[in-house]
Symmetry: C2
Subunit: 419 residues, 2 copies
DNA sequence: TGGCATTGTTAAGTCAACGAAGAAACGAAG
DNA sequence: CTTCGTTTCTTCGTTGACTTAACAATGCCA
């Protein structure tokens, strides 16, 4: 069957203009003319519409360039809000952001653990409502809720083959359930993808056209952004850098292959090696019963205190990550890489220089352009912020450029008479 | 500065409709309505325009589905032609294709060797003209010339840091020079990217949304296609799968890194290993003075004849390639892979099953969807065909969805008065 | 105070695409 | 053989986004 009219081109350039205003922070109408390529006349009417919608405000004047002074425009940051939720085994993080992507409220709660999905959904709805209430914001101004969790996610229903820690979530219709519980539009996505979008939306990623956000939590993933649009691949599972192979004869990975980055150098691998080193385990205060993330944090603290064994473990991990990042950059021809997620929030200072050095030294197109590596300003909550950014993006920048989906061309075409 | 009006949205849906007709081969107006999502009214006028332009013809009737019989539409294949040129160290291949991407003429000539670029350009112009003349086609009907060569290419001028064999081409303005010599529009691109486009254009790549064309000549590259649009990355050098790292401690590669796929398993590596094996070198008839491609072909022939040492060498190479392909598929979430280029034209039968097996066994999202692997139907000339397809694409499908280039947003914005 | 450059708005025209209604082609029932 | 319902395709008038062209508003500088 395949529904008709997938080409929703130019859903008014309102969205595009709004996006430029957001990216620029403060800009005049003339600035918009240059940035968008639209005419003054168009910008005039579009901006009037945005001001009437309450999304944009005039905030001052620029200095003269020889004639009339420009009127400066800005987002009305408190015009709309979005909720972002990061659902992980270890914990659930909620953020409330304004139009500009700035966090105006945040809470963290215990993770889903082994609880039943339906109960977790109820809890999430209550906790999200509590967050909105505590900040004292008109509920009407909340655009929606973005929910992200470790991939891979299937379609828009639940998650398909889940990582080992979250099996009970298979086939659970997460988005519809939460939508009913909250009464808000709900978007579901991969946490790494969300982190990338969050970096873009909150201005961290300058104007770089092609960016990867490396997300290291318990596993390692990446969100890919091309021209500010998330790249998802065939089934929405692009960016699985944790399963870049760095050694065809390496240790087995839970994904079924050998020598994956995650198996060689992910937090679990680092922690496993640290626990195996009796002396280090004692010095850093590791314990078999504690979570991987807790122990990874302990190893990182030990490294920062100068414990050589811990430092060496992390540097070894960083070198593997650097090589995998180079592979990713070579394949995608990246302009920038952002390190984000809880593990980089803790140990990013150790990883960053090693990754940058590797790219400067051996990135294939280094003669054409460098690959800049940055540490996220909000690595710990990047995914939740990105989840909120997803909502802002989808509500305010409705899927520009009508991408024609593949679609079945031939379908019911009757056979030619001559055949 | 930054030129204005980069958003050339919907340059008439003529191009989109034409693309659908091409993809479908034969289709009715109703079929177009379903495939594009446009209205019958729009399709009616657009198709009339295409017929008036001489690009499309009505070719018959379909059987009735209960009412009036549908009128079938097809491209007028001989309405326009395009020249594709593959410039390589080893040889230059010229093809002339019609609108449908079918080859109507082809010649091969000696490679550029150490000749001066200006002389090579003159020769290419003459040989291209000879090809068009020999087929007896009105020169007016030739849309342009696509020229592809081993990357990386810089901007649209020449090629930046060239592979070791083509140093003298640095900074030579290939496209403008050839444009002047031929009087035709000239497009320049990477040969792997062109191969991917060629596969898409000639219908080899069904409707798969996300495809990589692995191109193995002397080196290994890949062209990436997302929704039928080539993915280029930040500087047009995406798809460098030859420099996926499979062993951080492996042998040095000419790119400056270690353990690249190309260094471990590319044709040069295979040939080097074969030459080092005295017995095999004699059995296969290898020689130090001969080209890599000639000796790679010799090894492949030996393998097909059952020579165990040759077969083992190639299978080893295939396993490395398979692992690198898996990495690529994991990162991009691919739906399909096409093996193409001269080396796969010779040895593809050995590589294909090994790559397919690896993806079936260990592709990360294998539970969601498989990755199909195919051998190109025209592996030896895929790049040249793709070069011609580039011309068809650019002349007939002018860059749909106005992608806003990064562009400098802030530029001449004067400082706010309050600052 | 009067140029003069720059910014922003208004008005009229263009163009792609749409909806509705009509014309044309066809199978089948009377 | 006529009539009816169905499906295909075209014509016509409209919408909506955007453009060009003219105009109004603002502020620098002499």
């Amino acid at each position: 069957m395949s529904g008709p009219a997938r080409t929703t081109s130019h859903a008014s350039s309102k969205a595009a203009v709004l996006d430029v205003i957001r990216a620029a922070g403060t800009i005049s109408r003339v600035g918009l003319i240059n940035a968008t390529g639209l005419t003054g006349a168009t910008i005039s009417t579009v901006v009037r519409g945005l001001i009437e919608d309450g999304l944009v405000v005039e905030t001052g004047r620029a200095e003269s360039t020889g004639g009339k002074r420009r009127v400066l425009l800005e987002l009305d940051h408190s015009a709309r809000y979005a909720i972002g939720v990061h659902l992980d085994h270890a914990g659930i993080t909620y953020v409330l952001t304004n139009l500009g992507g700035a966090v105006v409220g945040r809470i963290s709660r215990p993770g889903a653990g082994a609880a039943k999905p339906a109960d977790v959904v109820e809890r999430m709805a209550a906790e999200a409502a509590a967050l909105v209430g505590s900040v004292g914001i008109d509920r009407e101004r909340v655009l929606g809720l973005g929910l992200v969790s470790p991939g891979p996610l299937s379609a828009s229903a639940g998650m398909a083959p889940p990582p080992p820690t979250m099996r009970q979530w298979s086939d659970f219709p997460l988005d519809t359930a939460l939508g009913q519980a909250t009464g808000l539009p709900v978007l579901l996505d991969n946490d790494a993808t969300a982190a990338a979008l969050g970096e873009h939306w909150s201005g961290g990623v300058d104007n770089a056209a092609t960016v990867a956000a490396l997300y290291m939590g318990t596993g390692i993933g990446a969100g890919l952004l091309v021209n500010g649009i998330t790249y998802r691949g065939a089934s929405g599972n692009a960016g699985e850098v944790g399963h870049i192979c760095l050694d065809p004869f390496g240790p087995e990975c839970w994904c079924g292959a050998r020598g994956c980055l995650e198996a060689l150098a992910g937090p679990s691998a680092v922690v496993a090696a640290a626990r195996a080193d009796k002396a280090l385990a004692r010095a850093a205060g590791l314990g078999r019963r504690r979570s991987v993330s807790a122990d990874f944090a302990a190893v990182s603290r030990a490294a920062r205190k100068g414990e050589p064994a811990a430092l060496e473990l992390l540097e070894r991990s960083a070198r593997y990550l650097a090589v995998a990042t180079r592979t990713l950059a070579n394949v995608m021809d990246l302009e920038a890489v952002v390190l984000t997620g809880p593990s980089f929030a803790i140990a990013g200072a150790i990883y960053l220089p090693i990754v940058q050095e590797e790219l400067d030294r051996a990135f294939f197109s280094r003669a054409n352009h460098p690959v800049r590596v940055r540490l996220s300003a909000s690595a710990a909550t990047a995914s939740a912020i990105g989840a909120a950014a997803m909502v802002l993006q989808s509500e305010l920048v409705p899927l520009h450029h009508g991408l024609r989906l593949p679609g079945n061309l031939v379908e019911s075409e009757p056979p030619p008479v001559g055949a």
